[in-house]
């Protein structure tokens, strides 16, 4: 959706560095300070790239999600509406000159932009009410460390026009921006940039597109849909199975898509969550951590149990969805978080994926 969009400042500096230093840089602004900011920013980026010792995209071990200390600040009521909803994931490059003290102003500007876009006849739905309200607000406590920037939320509400009705506003669209344990990215940007690499949206695609366009124009950033490959889905399944739960609200389920022709075939494999946990506990060796070896063994056990009955090699097919009592994730970049206790843990993994996509 944003692939043909405006190139953000973030990307622009990267491109221009490759060109010869003597040629003047094509930039949206001609102020000399911008050039220096760009160069400093870029130097820091190169340093961080050199620090990476291997090209393996994900670390060989991760901490099992646990209740982070900061979570005590989390307003449970506000956070409750983040749960049990399906969110579409995007990675977002750092926002240039974004300020938390301007949220009211942003609400006004975005509101005007949306109304203007809709009046232009772009993405108008029949019978849609133009009477909307845009609200920017911060989400306290949705962060990994104190260094992470504050998460914020954007909501579009429709205002009821009839005076007789209770003035109840219906939420048309919700999107939130966050950063959980984003140190690797934070280290590389200057103060003018706010890093909130993970963006989650719920609502129609047309609304997401309009809002994304406004953000890109206003803060020189770049959205990119965040797909989750089978490798990361397996990790998520293992990690979420490893989480300690008082009671299970959902069965543990995997969905594979089999590349056979001419007909497609989907295989859904649901296992009782207590049995999944028992299997994990039998595989798990390192306390407090999950290793690549353990993830592989866990998945291999599931594959071999399946093969014993059906003689089908699930490893030759494509894992597209995993679902547990903690959360469920789909390869198209969709997530649903079911457990508030591990909200931060789930977001931490997603932030990692988003940062990797940006870099």
């Amino acid at each position: 959706m944003y692939r043909n969009g405006v190139q953000g400042r973030y990307k622009q500096t990267m491109d221009s560095y490759d060109a010869s230093e003597s040629t003047p840089r094509q930039s949206t602004s001609s102020r000399p300070e911008d050039y220096f900011i760009g160069a400093t920013f870029l130097q820091k980026r190169l340093e961080s790239v050199r620090k990476q010792t291997s090209f393996v995209p994900t670390p060989p071990r991760r901490k099992i999600p646990h209740c982070s200390l900061l979570q005590e600040d989390v307003d449970l009521q506000k956070v409750a509406f983040l749960l049990h909803k399906q969110w579409t994931l995007y990675s977002l490059t750092p926002l240039y000159k974004f300020s938390y003290s301007n949220l009211k102003e942003y609400s006004r500007l975005l509101n005007a932009f949306i109304v203007a876009e809709k009046q232009k006849g772009l993405a108008v739905e029949v019978g849609e009410d133009f009477n909307i309200k845009v609200i920017f607000s911060t989400l306290l406590g949705i962060k990994g460390t104190q260094r992470d920037p504050e998460a914020f939320l954007v909501q579009i509400l429709s205002k009821s026009q009839l005076p007789s009705e209770n003035r109840e506003s219906k939420v048309l669209w919700t999107g939130w921006f966050c950063c959980i344990f984003g140190d690797s990215l934070l280290e590389t940007v200057s103060e003018d940039f706010t890093c909130l690499p993970l963006f989650l949206a719920n609502g129609t695609e047309s609304n997401t597109a309009i809002i994304g366009t406004w953000f890109q124009k206003t803060f020189d950033c770049y959205f990119s849909p965040l797909a989750i490959n089978a490798f990361n889905l397996s990790w998520m399944a293992a990690m979420w199975t490893a989480c300690k739960m008082d009671h299970y609200v959902a069965t543990t389920e995997f969905l594979w898509s089999v590349p056979c022709s001419p007909q497609s075939l989907d295989i859904s494999y649901a296992i009782h969550p207590e049995d999944a946990k028992a299997l994990w506990d039998s595989v798990h060796k390192t306390p407090g951590e999950v290793t690549q070896e353990e993830v592989d063994l866990f998945m291999d056990c599931l594959y071999s149990h399946f093969h014993r009955h059906f003689k089908i090699h699930l490893s030759a097919t494509r894992l597209v969805r995993v679902s547990t009592s903690v959360a469920s994730a789909h390869t198209d970049g969709k997530i649903k978080i079911l457990c508030h206790k591990y909200l931060i843990g789930v977001l931490a993994y997603l932030t990692e994926l988003a940062i990797f996509q940006i870099e």
Binding site: P259, Q263, L265, I271, C301, I312, A316
Partner: protein, 318 residues
């Protein structure tokens, strides 16, 4: 009258159930009204039959007359559509005051039944009817939508009206009635005999990589051929009936060849629910072994679906 004819008539009449006897005798039209009125049908059956045979002897029944009686019996033995419809409707109406029942007969001796369900106090809901297709020459009926409340009543109505003893739900579901029919009536393997055809090797289409070692090529051909042959033997050469899914509820212990210690002490089985979905499941399963995604032979749990006429299974350790 010939002894053999008398004996034949006696045996034919003995086979007729008492409640149908008068109807059949009237349809036969050999004995007159007056003659039938002389018989006390409330006696023991043997006595009634004896009396009837004696009347037939008096009237000199011939072989042709006896044969005609036989045909009439067969005809009534065959399905009485009117009686079925009346009985079915009556049972439902007696139980629920409000119910709409409609019938439509089609070829192949099938009767389509539409039922709109109400209750003692509410009118029938015409927007959520149940459809039933009953093949009168077979002990099978197919019902649409999942009934919960009215399933036992529908089962009872079908059983009684069709004069069977009990109704059993089969673990077979699909959106395609023709496929269900094909599986239930075993009509899908009409060209079963041809599966033993010996097609020469050259005519089969096997992809070859000419740059490979000739020994490996040979092994690959042998393996590919083996897979093709087994797949063909299992599934046959004919198009598969169309099913959309198969579901397996597994409660089996974990036994791994990977690592003997995993879950070794656990007595309880793993509780799994596995569901295969596809626009055309059996064709998709057939393509798995040749594609290398599954072993050949494929598991009998999958290949037995048409034969066992099931697509819902519960599997436990023996």
């Amino acid at each position: 009258m010939d002894e053999t004819v008398a004996e034949f008539i006696k045996r034919t009449i003995l086979k007729i159930p008492m409640n149908e006897l008068i109807t059949i005798l009237k349809a036969w039209d050999f004995l007159s009204e007056n003659q039938l009125q002389t018989i006390n049908f409330r006696q023991r059956k043997e006595s009634v039959v004896q009396h009837l045979v004696w009347l037939c002897e008096e009237k000199q029944a011939s072989v042709n007359d006896a044969a005609l009686l036989d045909i009439i019996c067969e005809d009534v033995d065959l399905f009485d559509m009117k009686q079925f419809k009346n009985s079915f409707k009556k049972i439902l109406q007696r139980a629920l005051k409000n119910v709409t029942v409609s019938f439509r007969e089609t070829e192949e001796n099938a009767v389509w039944i539409r039922i709109a369900w109400g209750t003692q106090y509410t009118k029938p809901n015409q927007y959520k009817p149940t459809y039933v297709v009953y093949y009168s020459q077979t002990p099978y009926a197919f019902t649409s939508s999942r009934l919960r409340r009215n399933a036992p009543l529908l089962g009872q109505a079908l059983t009684v009206a069709s004069k069977h003893h009990q109704i059993v739900k089969m673990d077979l579901r699909s959106r395609y009635l023709d496929s269900l029919k094909a599986i239930v009536f075993k009509q899908y393997n009409q060209i079963f005999e041809s599966h033993n055809s010996t097609t020469p090797l050259q005519e089969r289409n096997l992809g070859l990589d000419v740059n490979m070692d000739s020994r490996i090529i040979h092994e690959n051909i042998v393996e590919k051929e083996r897979v093709q042959q087994i797949t063909q033997e299992t599934f046959g050469d004919y198009p598969q009936p169309q099913l959309e899914f198969a579901q397996y509820k597994l409660e089996t212990k974990f036994k791994s060849d990977l690592n003997g210690s995993i879950l070794a002490e656990r007595e309880e089985p793993l509780r799994c629910l596995i569901k295969f979905s596809s626009p055309h499941l059996l064709e998709a399963l057939k393509s798995l072994a040749p594609a290398g995604i599954a072993d050949a032979p494929l598991s009998p749990l999958l290949t037995c679906i048409p034969n066992k006429r099931m697509n819902y299974f519960k599997i436990r350790d023996k």
